[in-house]
């Protein structure tokens, strides 16, 4: 048995349903889904649109709440937590990267990265030091004072990644992180995520619909009609 098996999985969805609307217009986005993700994994989630992959992602990220079933985060049941308790969990354990970057407009890269630390109540000098370090890690030193509008799409996504990792999260959730980027930039972003997974041991869960992006992950989960259709380990892609 591997040592990881001796502690609870980082993420465990058990018999989770997420239903939108009711009656005639009812949409079952997740239909009795079970999914277990261990600490340190790099998981790609694929599937056609409407297959439930984004809902699964938002549920894992505590941005959305399951209609039924259990969600254990690091062995603790979190499906019943209220808004503020879920906000605290996001603050301390989760980082997000979105397809649309979701940076604050007219706000410098440094201040965008600093944002999660403000809500952690960290003193300002320490915040700035850590935000600088995070920007350096994603290769953006010297761009601290640039607004999102002064940065390319790839650079904006790097700022978003820096924001996700600045709080030392256990897991980074990336929802189509390369969806708005050309293939060259996509590979740069994927290499960055791969590096964070390998070198810092950050668990990464990523939704994508591009095969060559998914190829960077070590496990591929494919959704269809709110259920997992296949779940397989992948050969690790060599870093070019």
């Amino acid at each position: 048995m591997s040592p990881a098996a001796s502690r609870p999985p980082l993420i465990e969805l058990a018999d989770v349903c997420r239903v939108y609307g009711s009656g005639e217009t009812e949409v079952r986005a997740l239909d009795h889904t079970d999914l277990v993700i261990q600490q340190g994994e790099f998981v790609a989630i694929m599937g056609p649109s409407g297959s439930g992959k984004s809902t699964a992602m938002n549920t894992i990220g505590l941005l959305d709440r399951p209609s039924s079933g259990r969600y254990l985060f690091n062995g603790v049941e979190v499906q019943g937590l209220d808004r503020d308790q879920r906000a605290l969990l996001r603050r301390h354990f989760l980082g997000f990267v979105f397809q649309g970057f979701n940076l604050l407009p007219r706000t410098s890269a440094l201040e965008n990265v600093e944002l999660p630390l403000i809500y952690k109540g960290m003193p300002r000098p320490e915040r700035i030091a850590r935000a600088r370090a995070a920007l350096a890690k994603v290769g953006l030193e010297g761009r601290e004072d640039h607004d999102p509008s002064q940065l390319s799409g790839g650079q904006q996504q790097r700022v978003a990644i820096a924001r996700a990792l600045v709080g030392d999260p256990m897991v980074i959730l990336a929802d189509e992180p390369t969806g708005n980027l050309d293939s060259h930039r996509s590979h740069e972003i994927m290499k960055l995520l791969q590096k964070l997974n390998r070198e810092d041991g950050i668990t990464i869960v990523m939704v994508t619909h591009e095969d060559d992006v998914a190829a960077y992950a070590r496990r591929l989960v494919i959704f269809a009609d709110g259920r997992i259709r296949s779940d397989s380990a992948m050969a690790e892609r060599a870093t070019a």
Binding site: D84, R91, H92, L94, F96, N102, L104, Y119
Partner: protein, 403 residues
Amino acid sequence: MIWETVRLALLALRRNKLRSALTMLGIVIGVAAVIAMVTVGQGSSRSVAASVESLGTNVLTVRPGGRGFGPGPASSGPTRPFTLRDADALAELPVIAHVSPTVSSLQTVVAGAANMSTSVTGATSGYLAVGGWTVVSGRGFDRSEDRASASVCVIGETVRRTLFGAADPVGRELRAGKVTCEVIGLLQAKGAGAFGQDQDDLVLMPIRTVQRRLLGSENVSSISVALAPEVSSQRGAREIEALMRDRRRIAEGAPNDFNISDRAQIAEVLTGINSVLTGMLSSVAAVSLLVGGIGIMNIMLVSVTERTREIGIRLAVGAEGRQVLTQFLVEAVVLSLVGGIIGVIVGLGLAFGASLYMAIPFAPQAYVVLMAFAFSALIGVMFGFFPARKAARLDPIDALRHE
């Protein structure tokens, strides 16, 4: 954490300068409009009260023609005019202290290269006493000049300024129509009258001079009298009426063919007009406050819609709903306070300027300032707060997806 939130709010305001400025503009306009209008309204009220006081309440004016208010006969048909003999007869009454018969004629007045159009009033020495005028330089008419058509005149401050600049006009000459006269006196400025007319825009000449040389008529258009002290205006009016009916041989029971107006009546009418005006100004002010409020509401609503994504981002990185809400509340409070303060300053400034321009007292009212300020602050905070609360209650994912 609260200071951190205040800092976040100030940063957000600075980042969105245009939006902040527009929101503040709504507050500034609402507050400034109310304060300016009510302050000017109050000032004009006081000004009317003051000019009513300056009219003197023991002055009656007798005019030929039927009962009516204002200049000119109110009844139709020819009216028998007054003459100077009527004025002399009134002067004999013991209840009367001063008599001032007048005629007037609109003339172009010329002195050197300067000229202006003004009303030339034919008056007697009683004019200054009845009207409460003071001569600041030179002298008024003496009794001999009342009866002779002397070529002398007394001018008001506006005429002096226009024709002679800052110089002392006494001893200089001016020409009014066909008549050239020597300026013998300058009247102290009175400012705007009860109807907003310039009281200092006048040239006085002996009444006979105007009658014979400018109008070619013996008529007197009105006779004002100052009653002796302790005489009520009712009693004065009664005695004048009896005398005039007798002189004009009006049969008993027939209506008067002249009218007596009491300044107290004028004062009443003026006060009435003024309270209507003040009421009107107040309603306009209320409407502008409302419009300002709707402006604030609009921008706040638009900005929260626009900022729903921002709220989503903040929630996603771990902000509690309460923290986001506090930030928005602080933003709204800061905008309302700063806008309110600017509005108070602008409003008082406008009112001050308008008061100077209209020559009325500047009458700021603490309660109006407070009320306008409080109302705008309330709207600013309410419409900053409630939409933000709605957004902060959204699921973070819905807020993020908001377009």
